[in-house]
């Protein structure tokens, strides 16, 4: 296990630290090079970059699906499997199970009977606005609704950190905007900490308070931008001059990243 637990006093409550993390595949493919990142309680961090910049590799390292070739990933305090919620690019629901059973799954794997956690499951579904669909099967839902189920599932364990790997990339723009708004509303309500992988400048600016811009070949962090606009943010933020300024800045950083890669 690369994840060791250390008790370090810190003025800000940090959750996770990556220190000089390298990941190479087969000795030649440098997927991630020297990535350092500190995730604090309540952060909404976007990893923004072109494809091949190691964003997904970074998430898989944090999720312990991969192990770093070099460097360390440290969780603050005791770390167990319930600390992490994950949303993939596809909804990744079990087609044979109802919506409620899908959301129940992370708790079921920890030995909780449905009866014991029914309220948690329904609460998670209520947060994403799908409490009426608990007995529906995934195939009966639209793409956006499936994604909401996936988000509900990631939150049902009240994780310390939620990883989202381009969750809205496959959705149409209207649905995507709606889900962006709803995700921020959710964040306000439950105060979750999120690392959000995206290749959309607009999405990253609208959602996050920190944007980590990454470049490809080798995957690495180029810049870290702060989006110091207060939450809650709503539709009016999308048309504000501050939003436009942040988008310009992030865009420029992304272009710089792509030039470096080319």
């Amino acid at each position: 296990m690369p994840q060791t637990t250390t008790q370090q006093p810190d003025s800000r409550a940090w959750i996770l630290r990556m220190e000089g993390v390298d990941k190479t595949f087969g000795g030649t493919v440098h997927a991630l090079s020297g990535m350092s990142l500190q995730v604090n309680q309540g952060d909404f961090i976007s990893l923004l970059g072109p494809s091949g910049c190691g964003k997904s590799t970074a998430l898989r390292l944090i999720a312990d699906l991969l192990h770093p070739t070099r460097g360390r990933i440290t969780w603050s305090g005791d770390h167990d499997v319930g600390d992490l919620g994950v949303v993939f690019q596809e909804p990744t629901l079990m087609p044979w199970a109802t919506v409620a059973q899908n959301v129940w799954m992370p708790l079921r794997l920890r030995g909780k009977s449905y009866h014991a956690v029914r309220d948690d499951v329904l609460e998670a579904l209520r947060l994403v606005g799908l409490e009426k669909f608990q007995t529906a099967y995934p195939r009966e839902l639209s793409g956006g609704m499936k994604m909401r189920v996936s988000i509900a599932r990631s939150m049902v364990t009240h994780p310390r950190l939620i990883l989202m790997d381009e969750p809205f990339a496959a959705l149409d723009e209207i649905t995507r905007f709606r889900l962006n708004n709803d995700l921020l509303a959710l964040k306000q309500k439950i105060g979750c900490t999120v690392i959000f992988v995206t290749h959309s400048v607009f999405e990253s600016v609208f959602l996050s308070d920190r944007i980590v811009v990454m470049a490809a070949r080798p995957g690495r962090v180029i810049r870290e931008l702060a989006v110091d606009e207060p939450y809650p943010r709503d539709e009016s933020f999308r048309t504000s001059p501050e939003y436009a300024a942040h988008c310009r800045e992030a865009s420029a950083a992304l272009h710089a990243a792509m030039d470096q890669a080319a």
Binding site: D64, L65, L84, E90, T92, W96, P106, R108, R110, R139
Partner: protein, 287 residues
Amino acid sequence: MSLVEDPPAGAPDIVDADEVRRARARRIERIGKWLLPVAVLVVMIFLWDRIVVWNAIPHYILPGPGAVFETLIEDRAMLFSALLVTLQITMLALAAAVLGGVGLAILFNQSRWFEMSFYPYAVILQVTPVVAIAPLIMIYVDNRIAALVLCAWLVAFFPILANTTLGLHSADHNLRDLFRIYGATRWQRLRYLQIPSALPYFLAGLRIAGGLSLIGAVVAEFVAGTGGMGSGLAFRILEAGYRLNIARMFAALLLVAGTGVIIFAGLSFLSHMLLRKWHESALKRDR
């Protein structure tokens, strides 16, 4: 799922030419699916009867459909007890194929070593024709029913093994990752992820195995030959052949074919019932 409300009562339905054409095509298909095969059957039986009558073919060469039907009624006691024997062997073989096929598939899935060691032999058993193995089995297995079941099982278990193995490996990769992230045990992964993923594959294998276990039972009976006690349909066909009782051969054949159809239909229905809520293969397309 339509969230649109029905049009208010009394309002005329809006129907365009396309709708009408589609509705008609659906109706024709629904009726035709049953009517056409029945019509073909009637015509064939009629032609069969006429050919026998017009050419004055003797009944020990080709009996007419009427004679076959009469035999079916007259010999019903003997034929149905033979059918029961064959059915018993078929069902035992199918049950053993399900247990053996699924059990082996799970073992293969859980242990790569086990799979590497034994999978080649499962293939060898499958590709060797059962007719060639059956005489040996008859020699070494004393119990006649057990020997027949073993032969039929050899034919039937492989599709279940192969399909279930494929199904257990075909669970969605992201779901696998998710199970890993949530710390699922091997048993939990098998039970909540791999077995449900494998179910459609298993059911497809089961449908094939249903037909194959009947074939296996009949072939094994042929090889076993004379028996007296506990003789199935295949034995009755052989025996009737020796006696030039062609009508009884046809009657027994009819029962074998009917049994095969019923097994297939039953397993298809089972498959539909188990998958209808979620699997693509069992869903009706709306348009």
